[in-house]
Amino acid sequence: MTDVVATNQTILVVGGGISGMTAAIEAAECGKQVVLVEKSPTLGGRTALLYRYFPKLCHPTCGLEINLRRIKSSRNIRVLTLAEVSAISGKRGDYSATIKIAPRYVNEHCTACGACADAVAAEVPNPFNYGLSKMKAAYLPHVMAYPQRYVLDASLIGTPEADKAKASCKYGAIDLAMQPETIEVRAGAVIWATGWQPYDAAKIQPYGYDRFANVITSLEFERLADPHGPTGGKILRPSDGKEAKNVAFIQCAGSRDENHLRHCSRICCMASLKQTQYVKEAWGAGAKSTVYYIDIRAIDRFEDFYQKVQNDPTVSFLKSKVAKVTQDKSGDVVLHGVDTEGYHRYANAHDMAVLAIGMQPSVAGVDIPAEIIADSSGFIESSAAESGFFGAGCATNALDVNRAVQSSTAAALRAIQVINQVARAEA
């Protein structure tokens, strides 16, 4: 049984991505008790699956290392993974959350020695590579995973493979009988840092994501560029493994579109500008990136980066919302449209097209507590007055990492205000 000591002076943070981790850490370093709930087996969220950040082109795992160290060294944070808030009741200053914890089939004895992975042959699609590769069914999500503890994929349970895994563990860490558990956690305030999910690219029919292998999303492209991705960091196109040197970036894939997402997802322009530099990093002068855009939204100091990329001879820009994508016999994708600056019709062939896919809140379609007011896109706009619920990060708006962290830090303060009120009242 997972024991969590929590009171009405505890802050519950839902979501263990960079926003949730930030909110939890900042609150904890102000001396508050925090319970951090993450539905996947590891903290880190989407940023852990990015190769580099714009505009510095530094690595997200660099900040993740620091944040994990802060979490490890803090005695105020209790982390629950594979856990989801299934119900929540009460009021500001006194909530009770029902948390469902899925079985990991690996207990705290795990030393992350990896013997179980060696023992197991079965493989499953790797969600941390968006299914672009397979991984052992006994796995450590990724090399920076925290908790640093293996997971047995549920599909193993009841198979001889599971027994092999169990047999391989000297430390009695594998518990095949582990059951889903439900726990109640008290909290004075709740921070919803449930993050975002990519818009379903297949719904953008003219771009043929569901028909052409060489049309991929910007998130998948991050994995292609990442040394820990499915191609070991080589930018190879999916259909035939050909080196993708001529890459098209299609902006507003789902965003700014009444047929899909009404809002602008803010990060996509910068993400594509950044990704043009991956192509350059991979192929040098032989690289060719073309950005098809409506407006390049490189806001504030990001403009510096935009100007840098504009001066990069391997990158060209075309003001045009691509009308449709086809695939020719060679497997190249052909983009059809019109450059609206002047009037220039094009049918451009590229090795691969990357959809700068729009951002929608993870809670889209999910029931969120009535206390939370969401906008038409499903982002948490605000909470009812006198609520102890606070949105943080991309759950509240389409934000870049920097702004998501600001938002989470602010959310942490709002939560602390509730806790301090409770404390004063009880003092």
């Binding site: 029919q205 003219p206 043929g208 028909r211 449709k324 086809t326």
Partner: protein, 304 residues
């Protein structure tokens, strides 16, 4: 008493000896086999099509459709209207949408209709024949009457524009609708999954006035079908059928090509598969003969 009844709006091209006369014939034999009763709307009029905009006005076009609706309400109350022509169906859908959205337009339309002693109350549903087939009956039921599966007939399902955009068949995508392929497979034919020109435009009514431009489109549509080894192109739209079939000879004449790709209606495929004769399936109504289908049509199958 038929299993299903509809008010039928054939549209001008389907009239006797009209350019889509064989469409009507095949639809009738198909419906008979499916036990679907279609009653023509008495004294129906032209829908105005998409092309009449220069001479007409938006309101006038709504009046045309609304008159048909009113007549249908009056004589065939409670029955959905079924159109076989894409443009008729589309025009009708647009009128319903616009009038429901604007009480002003609705009032104006009725003010005009009054001159013909008619009134349109909203609530009419106009469906394309294909909707009736795939939604009301469903592929499984459509498969049942098949007595002559179209074995070895490779069919390019050419959806074209107006049954597909802007409304389309429920659950289908604009870029890659599958219903024609499913229909083809249902009757034992071989559909072509990756037919690139599936939803391109044949030029529509501009084939009359911008023939060369339309022929460019038609050439692609036909050649792509050849590329995929199609025996025949199949379409749900009379104008698509006429354009793509008729202008091949013109293209050949001008460009020395040897295009000779038959173009038929989905209803003809079903009709043949259901055991319809050449005549019943309207297979005698082609300039480019759909030989493979004709062979199947004349083939005698033993009683089962």
């Amino acid at each position: 008493m038929a299993k299903r009844e509809y008010a039928f709006y054939p549209g001008c091209s389907s009239q006797l000896r009209g350019s889509a006369a064989n469409y009507l014939v095949s639809v009738e034999s198909m419906c008979e086999k499916l036990d679907v009763k279609m009653t023509q709307i008495p004294d129906w009029n032209c829908c105005g099509a998409s092309i009449s905009y220069a001479g007409s006005s938006e309101l006038a076009r709504h009046v045309l459709s609304a008159r048909n609706f009113a007549l249908s309400d009056k004589h065939l109350p409670g029955q959905d209207i079924v159109a076989t022509c894409a443009a008729c169906w589309l025009g009708g859908r647009e009128t319903i949408e616009k009038l429901d959205a604007s009480s002003q337009l609705m009032a104006d339309t009725n003010e005009a209709l009054k001159e013909a002693g008619l009134e349109y109350k909203s609530g009419t549903a106009i469906r394309h024949m294909v909707e009736v087939l795939v939604e009301d009956l469903g592929y499984e039921e459509l498969g049942k009457p098949v007595v002559k599966p179209l074995d070895g007939v490779k069919v390019a399902g050419y959806v074209g524009c107006q049954t597909n955009r802007p409304f389309g068949i429920a659950g289908e995508s604009f870029e890659n609708p599958m219903y024609l392929d499913k229909l083809i497979d249902t009757v034992g034919g071989e559909s072509i999954a990756k037919y690139e020109e599936k939803v391109s435009c044949c030029g529509g009514s501009l084939a009359f006035c911008e023939q060369e431009k339309a022929e460019k489109q038609i050439k692609n549509i036909v050649e792509s079908a050849y590329d995929h080894g199609a025996d025949v192109i199949c379409t749900p739209c009379p104008l698509c059928q006429a354009n793509v079939e008729v202008y091949q000879s013109e293209i050949n004449r001008k460009q020395g090509t040897k295009l000779n790709m038959p173009v038929v209606y989905y209803s003809q495929l079903l009709s043949v598969a259901y055991g319809g004769t050449l005549k019943e399936a309207g297979l005698d109504g082609h300039i480019i003969q759909p030989k493979k289908l004709q062979e199947i049509a004349v083939k005698v199958v033993g009683r089962r």
